[in-house]
Amino acid sequence: MKIVVRWAVVYLGLMVVLTAFGYYNQQRQWQLEGLQKREAELARTATRLTLQRYDLLSPLALREWAERNGYVPMSLANWQRTAP
């Protein structure tokens, strides 16, 4: 009986260690999932901001804006000065 009890103690001891290890792993897993989710959100935000930035500042967008606001290329400007 003593042997059974001893083995049971060993078994339970190891089960406690195993459970603790498993719990620790779960914690790490949840932490990792949280970080991955955050990373994906940041990547989405970065993509959106990149597209937004070029949508506003791309050469094509700037040209359209300049034309809308009446800017002309320097080469087509009126360079002739009239005497005061």
Partner: protein, 470 residues
């Protein structure tokens, strides 16, 4: 009974009990070892810390598709962790870039297809395109296309000394992110600049002039009798622009005289013209490394008769892509040296002399003096040649479908870039089908934008002096 007592001896009973118990212990220990082993195995394989060991966990994950960037690093197409492919520049250069599978980005058209191996392996490529010049060319081209209701159009800009392509604009606009329709009907996705071989038309006359001068049979001031029409092999060749009956070669270019250029072209054998076609890569199906280009179609010289020679002189009867034509024109800009066009940074453009420098300069001067009104930028020297090519529809030259072109140099005294503009099937009505009317303004707008970008002020005095000389 005595036998039974003998069998149930206390020592024997203990032994028997021990044997029974050993089985129980053995089974329990086996289950324990198996259970513990399985637990450790599961924990080891699911330990989050191990996931960060890339060499173990991410070996089979393919790398993210490489990006395509303009020469200054501006992203044109790139992949992110959450998007298969994004195009930060929107519609800019979209036909050149092409597109891929929605699911994995695998290239189906354009550079996405041509550079599939590099991009798939995660390698990024940098193009020679200048994002500003690309936008400049696209803006001018799209506006002209809307005005002329053209079927498609291209505007190409090449750096004269290096052969680097600075802009490859195509129209109509193509949105690579929009739902795709029937690609056989909707042509907006096509990079006509590289893939569509067309008859170049009168822009070819400048090259013919250079060929004749290089062959030593004419000079830029050589005269030729040029009535308004002539008959060759039973076909009548007409001139469109009214002109004096006797023209110099420079005037032949100015008035775009078909009769004049065909009469001059008869002074050299067909083999000579064909040999220059070869030197100008008009027979080369791969004029540019690493990027697909439509094959030109030039009849073998042994099948050239008088009509074929005449056609070749003014740009009909053979098909080349706008890229072929641009690179050939660039030989005039680059003082007679043909530069292989390149689109990827790091590629070295091969150079090959085709014309003597003085020949190229004479032709450029003639094209500057006779440049179309709508191509001129006051205060600057620009030169170029118009072209309005007839197009074969159902086996015959159509009286309605034309390819209106303008090819020129900016500036024309010391060209920094060569520009080619082609509008296919403009429907403006009246004169608004000609290169001088619909394509020259695109060239002008590109030239004006480039002068502004380079920070070059107009040189009014120089032009006034020049006027006095004339």
């Amino acid at each position: 009974m005595a036998q039974r007592e003998t069998k149930t001896h206390p020592q024997a009973q203990v032994l028997q009990a021990s044997l029974h118990r050993s089985w129980v212990v053995f089974i329990a220990m086996s289950m324990f070892v198996v259970g513990m082993g399985y637990g450790l195995y599961t924990l080891y394989n699911n330990a989050p810390a191990l996931l960060s060991r890339a060499s173990v966990a991410y070996l089979d994950i393919p790398p993210m598709r490489g990006a395509i960037r303009a020469s200054d690093g501006t992203p044109l197409a790139l992949s992110t962790t959450d998007e298969v492919r994004v195009h930060p520049m929107g519609l800019s250069a979209s036909q050149l870039l092409g597109f891929g599978e929605r699911a994995n980005g695998s290239g189906l058209a354009g550079l996405e297809r041509d550079l599939e191996e590099t991009l798939k392996a995660g390698g990024s490529v940098r193009l020679t395109l200048d994002a500003n010049i690309q936008a400049l060319a696209e803006r001018a081209l799209w506006r002209a296309m809307e005005g002329s209701k053209s079927e498609w159009g291209v505007a190409l800009v090449m750096e004269a000394k290096t052969g680097r392509l600075l802009a490859v604009a195509n129209g109509p606009r193509f949105d690579p992110t929009a739902a795709r329709g029937d690609i056989s009907k909707d042509i907006s996705w096509r990079n006509h600049a590289f893939t569509q071989a067309i008859e170049p038309g009168s822009t070819q006359k400048s090259l013919t002039a250079a060929i004749l001068m290089e062959a030593g049979v004419v000079k830029i001031e050589s005269r030729v009798e040029a009535p308004m029409f002539r008959v060759i092999a039973g076909r009548t060749i007409n001139d469109i622009v009214r002109h004096p009956p006797n023209l110099t070669l420079a005037e032949v270019l100015k008035y775009s005289s078909n009769v004049g250029i065909t009469r001059l072209a008869e002074r050299v054998p067909n083999d000579t013209i064909y040999e220059f076609f070869r030197k100008l890569h008009f027979t080369d199906p791969k004029p540019m490394p690493a990027v697909s280009v439509g094959a030109p179609l030039v009849r073998p010289v042994k099948r050239w008769g008088p009509l074929e020679t005449a056609n070749a002189a003014f740009g009909q009867g053979f098909l080349v892509t706008p890229l072929h034509m641009l690179a050939a024109y660039n030989a005039l800009a680059n003082d007679g040296v043909y530069q292989q066009p390149v689109l990827l940074e790091g590629q070295v453009s091969k150079a090959e002399r085709v014309f003597r420098p003085e020949v190229a300069q004479s032709v450029r001067r003639a094209l500057t003096d006779g440049v179309a009104e709508r191509a001129k930028v006051p205060g600057y020297l620009v030169g170029g040649k118009t072209g309005t090519a007839q197009v074969v529809v159902n086996g015959r030259y159509s009286s309605e479908v034309f390819a209106a072109s303008f090819a020129g140099f900016i500036p024309s005294d010391k060209p920094r870039v060569t520009v080619l503009v082609t509008l296919f099937h403009p429907k403006g009505g009246g004169l608004n089908i000609h290169g001088s009317m619909v394509s020259a303004p695109v060239f002008r707008e590109v030239a004006a934008g480039l002068f502004a970008q380079w920070g070059l002020p107009p040189v009014v005095q120089k032009e006034e002096k020049k006027d006095k000389k004339q």
